[in-house]
Amino acid sequence: MSDKTISEMSEATATETAVEDNYETTNKGDYKIKLEAFEGPLDLLLYLIKKEEVNIYDIPIARITEQYLEYLTLMEELDIAVAGEFLVMAATLIHIKSRMLLPPDPNVAPESLEDPRQELVERLLEHQKYKQAASMLYSRSEVAQAVFTRAQIESDTQTPELSATVFDLLEIFKKVLERAKEQAEMEIARDEITMAEKMEEIHSLLKERDSLSIRELFEKARSKRELILTFLAVLELVKEAVIRLAQSETFGDITAFKRVAETRPDTEEISESGENLSQV
């Protein structure tokens, strides 16, 4: 991979690229941009290894751990949210460091001793490979973008294939569901009536006839909101002594009467509290 390609790449995605240069800057703003640039803990570690010019196969774990933790502190000072994976890596580094400090087990032959850094080094090398591969893909796409295909011709419009993917289907399905929800909300909004209107409605209904079934009133409500409004309007009318409510039997239908009308003697009068209404 040529250096040119990689440097072009950093230019192209400057804010996201783990930087190679000028880390010694003292400007906090610059620091912030660059620290946010680390894609993850592996990126940060690779940067530190490169900066300290240490051998990836023989990482001075104490030094690198110290530097790593310094960067995390710096990130916190700069109010950069430190993602969980950075902390997991910090714990891993500290664990490796402590294992390195332990004296080697005298019962194990020196050549079969496992290096505590082994697993981390493998992950770093693997990660590094994919960074190189990304760089290769980048240069390939640059070349591929330099060639052009013919303009649209007449036959094209007749031939386009079914180009939707399963992910498009899912996106479309989600949009349909959202639209259905919005539509339902809009319908409720359109029907919105005020409590005054509801009271007026009950009032005028009682002008036409002497009594009114409360259940009938509730059944007319087309939304939860209207149901509540109906309930409140009835209570308000009771309070204002415009109507009175009567129930012929417990759990039976409640009827509203105009105040002027005669109370039938055999019905139990319900007080204005409306407590019994909750049983309707």
Binding site: F148, T149, R150, A151, Q152, I153, S155, Q158, T159, P160, E161, L162, S163, A164, T165, V166, F167, D168, L169, L170, I172, F173, K174, K175, V176, L177, R179, A180, Q183
Partner: protein, 176 residues
């Protein structure tokens, strides 16, 4: 630009141009080139390109130059165009297909309920394209026909079976 470079450039420009490419357009792009030089190169390029007797030719059309296939090959080309999958699905059809894929088996009234619009012509398109198929009748008033996706749907979308359809949860992982 030497003559050969100029001819190459003309070939590429005529190829990518949406409309027949006019001499004026060519001169505008190649401002640094001598006008006579361009005209000479263009003549020579067309003479050579058409002289190859290949499948394509440069034709003068509507005051410009266009690359197109030779008329004697049109029968084969028409036959080829017919083998390509037919027209792209409209958004209405795609929406209907999405609802059917995720809600199957589902009836036309149920689809209407979700989409908020009539879907009958979209359903006809999907049936014609064999992307959906009837899945029996629903045991309710009117016993409406239920629809689901077909085997062709799976093939077309590269799915082994319906469980491979990405779910809303799969997607939540992605945005989360």
């Amino acid at each position: 630009m030497n003559l050969e470079e100029l001819k190459k450039t003309l070939e590429a420009l005529i190829f990518v141009s949406e409309e027949p490419l006019t001499l004026k357009q060519i001169k505008d792009i190649l401002q640094d080139e001598d006008s006579d030089h361009i005209e000479f190169a263009l003549k020579e390029f067309i003479f050579e390109f058409n002289g190859r007797d290949g499948g394509l030719e440069i034709r003068e059309l509507a005051g410009g130059y266009r690359m197109s296939t030779r008329p004697e090959l049109h029968e084969t080309i028409r036959a080829f165009l017919k083998t390509l999958p037919s027209a792209r699905l409209s958004l209405a059809a795609l929406e209907t297909l999405a609802v059917i894929a995720y809600k199957q088996p589902v009836t036309i009234p149920e689809i209407m309920e979700i989409r908020g619009t009539r879907s009958t012509s979209a359903i006809k398109t999907l049936l014609d394209r064999r992307l959906i198929t009837a899945k029996g009748r629903k045991e309710c008033v009117g016993r409406p026909m239920m629809y689901g996706t077909s085997k062709d749907f799976l093939i077309q979308f590269g799915l082994k079976d319906l469980t491979e359809l990405p779910s809303i949860e799969d997607f939540e992982d992605l945005v989360g």
